[in-house]
Amino acid sequence: MLSTSDLAVARGGVTVLQGLTFAVAPGQALILRGPNGSGKTTLLRTLAGLQPPADGTYQLPPDSVAYAAHADGLKSTLTVAENLSFWSEIYGGHPIDQALTLLNLTQLTRRRAGELSAGQKRRLGLARLLVTGRRIWLLDEPTVSLDVASVALFADVVRAHLKTGGLAVIATHVDLGLPEATTLDLDPHRARVIQTTDFDEAFA
């Protein structure tokens, strides 16, 4: 269960989103929609615990979040299997075979990550989610550089994750065809008035 109440998030000291109150139950997915710069990434980073909320609160169970950012965090000199087993060991040693199969990477296990195509790298980055064993997925534009077949593959993975009681918050423009998904339009929540700490009152 992930919930926020009157959450506001800030980028570079400037509030970009405010008044966010939503809840995502196990088995559900929340799709974040909004133009570039609307604060999708900032919201996901806040939920991932990388930055403090500007206002309001959010609740999620401890040690339950796996975050997938724009960058995949791959090491180009390590092989696909090495990259994946590293994250698996960090998260307590979940087996990597199933993740490789689900994202169609079994043929590539011994290839170095630097030699992969952009779409293959992305698939490897997403396979990381499966070896974390975490229930809450926070995904930032997960389908970038994926082809149609891979998007379908990824949608299957998310669907399976939701079916086993997981939940996901996904910032994406692509329709993943998830029946359990609700869409949150961020546009109404964009901060109109900039609140910049307490410097406004200095010259009141």
Binding site: I194, T196, F199
Partner: protein, 242 residues
């Protein structure tokens, strides 16, 4: 009324606007009285001749060089614990002033050392410590300058100031250990009062008070500038959105 009210930017601007003219006036009076008295109305030292008079610049600036860092440490701690922006900006404002005092202490020391010891520079513990202090100031100022986001810069420089203070103390100890040195001991401590006779001592105290006030004035001025520049940035950001 709590002292933290002065950490509010508005309150700070009001109070400092009221205090600044007084601080400037007092600084000017004390510095003129102290320096003129020290330079022209004290006898020459029987050993050091008139060169001794440089203490009226050297000693106060050396004291303020260290006090400025201590002030930065305190304001950094206040920023980390209580998140008062004025505190972080005061630390930022104090750094170049402290660096200038350090450089003045080094240069006047060299000018004094040349006729006394026959050399501009010696790797004496005190001199070396001040040189190292200069490096710490450079690093601190450079870090402020390098980071764009003001809150990030305030956080990182505060952490650097804390860690730097520990290492500066360690360096002081290490340098003492490394070379015993020829610099005279502190001539102002109360139990060693006989080192410096009253004729020199009183104008020196006036100079020290003048330098303290000079520091306060400069930091107030610079902090006000920093607050204004933050306010300006906030206004520009708002304009971009509107």
């Amino acid at each position: 009324m709590s002292i933290w009210e002065y950490a509010n930017p508005k309150k700070f601007m009001q109070t400092s606007a009221w205090a600044l003219p007084w601080a400037v006036g007092l600084t000017v009076i004390l510095l003129i009285v102290g320096l003129v008295w020290g330079f022209f109305f004290t006898p020459d030292d029987y050993k050091q001749g008139s060169t001794v008079k440089i203490i009226y610049l050297h000693v106060p600036s050396a004291m303020m060089a260290i006090n400025a860092w201590v002030m930065m440490l305190v304001t950094s701690l206040i920023w980390i614990v209580r998140r008062h922006h004025v505190s972080a900006l005061a630390a930022k404002a104090a750094a170049p002033v402290g660096l200038t005092f350090t450089l003045i202490a080094l240069v006047t020391g060299a000018l004094w050392g040349q006729p006394m010891w026959g050399t501009w520079w010696a790797w004496d513990p005190r001199l070396t410590s001040f040189l190292i202090l200069t490096l710490f100031y450079f690093g601190y100022i450079a870090l402020w300058a390098a980071i764009e986001d003001p809150d990030t810069a305030a956080d990182l420089t505060s952490i650097l100031c804390l860690v730097g203070s520990v290492f500066a103390l360690l360096s002081r100890y290490a340098v003492n250990f490394w070379n015993q040195g020829l610099h005279q001991g502190a001539s102002l401590s109360l139990d060693k009062e006989e080192n410096v006779s009253d004729v020199f001592w009183v104008p020196l105290l006036v100079c020290i008070a003048g330098f303290v006030l000079l520091f306060v004035t400069m930091v107030l001025l610079r902090t006000r500038t920093e607050i204004r520049s933050r306010r300006l940035k906030a206004l520009l950001a708002r304009e971009r959105v509107a």
